[in-house]
Each structure stands twice: as structure tokens, then as C-alpha cells.
């Protein structure tokens, strides 16, 4: 792990990152195959499919068969990278991922795009608030939620060299740069983005930016805040949680996901097991379905802004 923070925070389209990373991976690893379920245009990978017509397979609108066929391909040495929208990549094909994938030890990388509020105008039917919960409950699965373009690209490349079931959830749209492209990470290890003495915020994905902004505002009012990027939701980095909680007055988790079963639950489990007498606040989507609207509107509606983090802190301290 070698972390270098980005000097300038500019939004980079994740689908452009996906396309670029795929090209590099396909060039470097001859056994990698890329699969999509009629969302090649939506995932920004049309150029990749054109450049590697044999190794990029449009499976059509048949996600169940896509997961099964990918698993079959992996049994004879192929290394599949699969994309579809997060709800179709997880809840629609859960049994296929579970049995054809994890149970028989197949080798799959699944990119589930536009989780939570980032599904925007596709609305409630295309919204996943539970993908992390589902994937956490799947034995052997590694569950990843990158914070920015650099981390997303690194995870795609790194997992292409590994064997197992890797679920990567990320928006297709722009996320602000947190890390400089020179950064490297370690799967299973959180990254301390800043230290602080009163509160620690464990955050993932889109909520990293909110957590960092909330930290700046809270510190103006005299509250010292640490922020940790928990991009590996499973296996959770127990060590960093135990270390960062010491001496804090409040623990906050922040995720673009249901408060049931995601990062907040993972942190709560460790806190409960260890018997810490420290309050926990989970900034997350309540037990509800998604709806249609602009991402900004949905983010506010679901209670996933920096203000929601500040409110959670203010209520306790």
C-alpha cells in the first residue's frame, strides 16, 4: 500500500475509467474476457468491444446466463470481468453468483454500476440499496466499493490477477479524485484519510467526499474528526476499526446503501463483539426502496449528504 493523495479534486467519469482499465487489462492478460448484458453503450465500453471483438462478449439481456456462462468459462481458464447495473448484478442473479460462482469456486469479477442514489433517472426499479448486504452474506466473496477513479482502476487491475468472487460497486458517473494515480492499495486494508481525536467516520464510495467535507465544517466548530476509507467492505478491516475507535466519543459510518447489512452493520458487529461503550451513528439509506430523480435530489432524500453526517455528529456531541 502506497497512498498519495490527489492534489486537485476533479470529477472523473467512472465509465471512462472502466473503459481505459479494460483496455490495459485485456492487453496484459490474454485469458481475460469481458462480458456485458446489453449495457455496452451504457458502460462506455463500445470501443473496447470493437478493439477486442472475440474476448468481449455481449450476452444480451440475460443476466442469469451471463453469470453461469462466465463461471463456466472460468472453469477452463478464462478470467471474466462482468458488468451490469448493480441490482441486476446482484439480487437478480444471486443464486447464480452463489452456486455457479462462489459455491463451486469459480473466478469472477462483477462490476455492479450505479448503486443507491446514483441510479438517478432509471428510478426505483434500477436502484440497489442492498447489494452490499447480499454480497457480504455470500461465503468467500470479496466486496469492494471504490472511492474514486484511481481506486476503481486499481481494483479492476488487481482483481484480474487474483482468483475468486469479487464484487465491485461504483457509479458510472464522475467521482471526485481522492487519490493520486500513483497510489496503490491493499484489499482488506482501510485507508486513513485524516486523523482526528473526537469522532471517526468510516465511509465508502460516494460518501468519502461527503465525509471529508463534513470533517472540514465540524472542525470549524471545534470537533476533531478522523476519516477512514473502508473500500473493502468484506473482508472488513477489523484491525483499523479497532485502532481508530480508541479514545473516540462517537463512531459514524457513511454509505450509499441500506443501513441494514452494509458497512454500518459490519462496523456495528465488530463494535458489539468487542463491547465498546461508544455510540455509533449510521448515515445510510433507511429501510426503504429507491425512487426516480436527479442524483442530487435522491442523495438529499435518502439522507446521504455532508449535512446528514454533521447532524448525526451534532446529535451526540
Amino acid at each position: 500500500m502506497a497512498i498519495v493523495f490527489a492534489k486537485e479534486q476533479k470529477p472523473i467519469e467512472m465509465r471512462a475509467v472502466y473503459q481505459q482499465a479494460l483496455v490495459e487489462i485485456l492487453r496484459e492478460h490474454p485469458q481475460v474476457v469481458v462480458m456485458d448484458a446489453d449495457l455496452v453503450g451504457a458502460s462506455g465500453t463500445a470501443k473496447v468491444f470493437k478493439e477486442f471483438p472475440d474476448r468481449c462478449i455481449n450476452m444480451g439481456i440475460s443476466e442469469a446466463n451471463m453469470i453461469g456462462a462466465a463461471a463456466g468459462m472460468s472453469l477452463v481458464g478464462k478470467v471474466p470481468i462482468i458488468h451490469t447495473f448493480a441490482p441486476f448484478a446482484t439480487r437478480r442473479v444471486y443464486d447464480q453468483l452463489y452456486l455457479s460462482g462462489a459455491y463451486q469456486k469459480a473466478n469472477l469479477r462483477i462490476y455492479g454500476s450505479d448503486p443507491g442514489f446514483t441510479s438517478g433517472h432509471n428510478g426505483g426499479t434500477h436502484t440497489s440499496v442492498e447489494d452490499l448486504a447480499l454480497m457480504r452474506a455470500m461465503p468467500s466473496a470479496t466486496v469492494l466499493a471504490p472511492a474514486d477513479a484511481t481506486q476503481f482502476s486499481w481494483l479492476l487491475k488487481e482483481t484480474s490477477k487474483m482468483y475468486g468472487i469479487f464484487y465491485i460497486r461504483a457509479s458510472r458517473k464522475g467521482l471526485k479524485d481522492i487519490y493520486d494515480p500513483a497510489s496503490t492499495f491493499e484489499i482488506g486494508k482501510g485507508v486513513v484519510l485524516c486523523e482526528g481525536s473526537d469522532v471517526v467516520i468510516f465511509a465508502i464510495g460516494e460518501m468519502i467526499e461527503q465525509a471529508l467535507t463534513a470533517k472540514d465544517e465540524l472542525e470549524k466548530s471545534g470537533v476533531s474528526v478522523a476519516v477512514v476509507d473502508m473500500f473493502t467492505v468484506k473482508p472488513i478491516d477489523r484491525e483499523i476499526i479497532e485502532k481508530m475507535i480508541v479514545g473516540k466519543k462517537l463512531v459514524v459510518t457513511a454509505e450509499n446503501h441500506s443501513k441494514i447489512g452494509g458497512l454500518g452493520s459490519a462496523v456495528a458487529e465488530i463494535m458489539a463483539e468487542n463491547g465498546y461503550g461508544i455510540p455509533l451513528r449510521r448515515v445510510a439509506i433507511q429501510d426503504r426502496f429507491g425512487e426516480v430523480g436527479l442524483p442530487d435530489y435522491l442523495q438529499k432524500t435518502y439522507g446521504l449528504t455532508k449535512d446528514d453526517i454533521i447532524k448525526a455528529v451534532s446529535e451526540v456531541l
Binding site: G60, G68, A69, G72, M73, Q104
Partner: protein, 280 residues
Amino acid sequence: MSDELKLFSAKIRLETCKMLAHRGFGHLGGALSIVETLSVLFGSKMAVDPHRPDWDGRDYFVLSKGHAGPSYYATLALKGYFPTEVLYTLNENGTILPSHPDRLKTPGVDTTTGSLGQGISLAVGIAKALKLDGKPNKVYSIVGDGECNEGQVWEAFQFAAHQKLDNLIVFIDENRKQLDGLTVDVNNPFDLRAKMEAFGFYALRVDGSSEQAISDAIDDCFAHQNQALCIVLDTVKGQGVDYFEKLMDNHHIRFASDSKAELDKAILELEKQVVSGGAQ
């Protein structure tokens, strides 16, 4: 060839009946309907090496209707993948032979199947990957007619046809029954061969109790290139054992006094058949 395969079929059927008699219950009907197909595949068509189950030159077999595990296991044991005594551990605690095939547990099992609809997707994936690598290995998969209730099966069929997977033969075991009764009563499959043809397959329908017919159909299929291949097997659930062929509810049988006596009788008859070289 045919006499040898008839003998092999009799042996597979015998071992299947013996293991289920020992266990006292199991998926007898659907295991027996594919015996002749297993015999032709493992007895003559497939390139396999029981001493090297992971040999990369092997042909692949995917039992999509995973509940037929017992006759698959009997076939593998008779081929020498593991001792036939192991067959008696079917479903015992800690066994290498679970009800439904598990590639991580049993030598010779290429894929984990049993959640219906999923095996055929694995098979099309394996076939596609082999084609991408320009490898000559063949893939064979048996799907149940009841299993064709599953939508995923048709996703996989459409993919196979679109990709022109001519290195894969899809067998549909049309034994006309599923767990709750006749397929025509539960969820009518209509004309499976015609449906496969409409999907773009080169599709045949043959007597699934005839080793010769199955063998000829496989040769016929592989004479066709650039097209997906299907053989609908006209079979009987419980095939080869008169009492169980006639028993209506024969998907999963818990052998009680009558059925146990009939199973024991069948075992004696099959033993005679094996001794006499397979003739019925």
C-alpha cells in the same frame, strides 16, 4: 460396440439401483432415464482419462439435471475414477458423493450442478471458452425436460445458438415427468425438438433407451458445423426397471416394503443381465 455399451448400461443401472437400495431413498427415476446416454458418452464418445480427471485434453460433461447424480456417479466409478465401494457412501455425512454433483468433491465431476437451469449456462460458457482458445474438446450436457421450465435454460440455448457452439451437444432428457407429475400437466413443454429447431439448433429426437440411436445421433450432430446441436432423448422416467417405469410418483423414492422388494428384484435381474453380457 453396441453389445459392449449395452453391458455398460446394465452395469450403470445395476450400480445405481444398488447404491439407492443401500441408502434407502433417492432420485431413482431421473437417474435411470439417462443411463443409456451416460453409457454412450463415457463408454465410447468422450475423451477422458480417469487417472487424470483434470487432463486438459478431456471432453467435458455437465449434468445440468443434477438430481440424476447417482447414475453419473455409478458411471464414473465403473470408469475407474474412484472405487465402486465409494458409491455406497452416497449422501452419508462427509461423503464425496452428494445428491447433486459437486466438482470440488468428486473426481471426474467437471461442474457443480443441481440448482436447475444453471448447469446448461456453465456448459455454454465452457464451450465458448474452448472455442475462443481454438481447442478441439467437446462438451456434452444433459438438461431435464422438467428443467426446461426454468427461464435460464432458454437464455443459455439462445446464447448457444447465437454463438454457433458446434462443440457442444445439448441433450434434453424427455422422460415426461417432473417432481409433481407429468410435464404436460405441470407446465407443458410442447414439442421440445421443434422448439430447439426454432431456436436455431440442429435438433434431433431419438430413442433414449437405444445406445445405437444415441451414438448415431451424436455422429450426425457433429457432421454439422456452425450451428448449435441438440438431441432430444425420448426416455421413460425409471427407465429399464419395469416396476419403476410404471410407478407414477418416481422422481424421489423412499423405498418402503413394496418398492424395496421391487428394487431388490431389479438388482437380481440386472446382475443376471450383467453376467450374461448385457442382454435383456
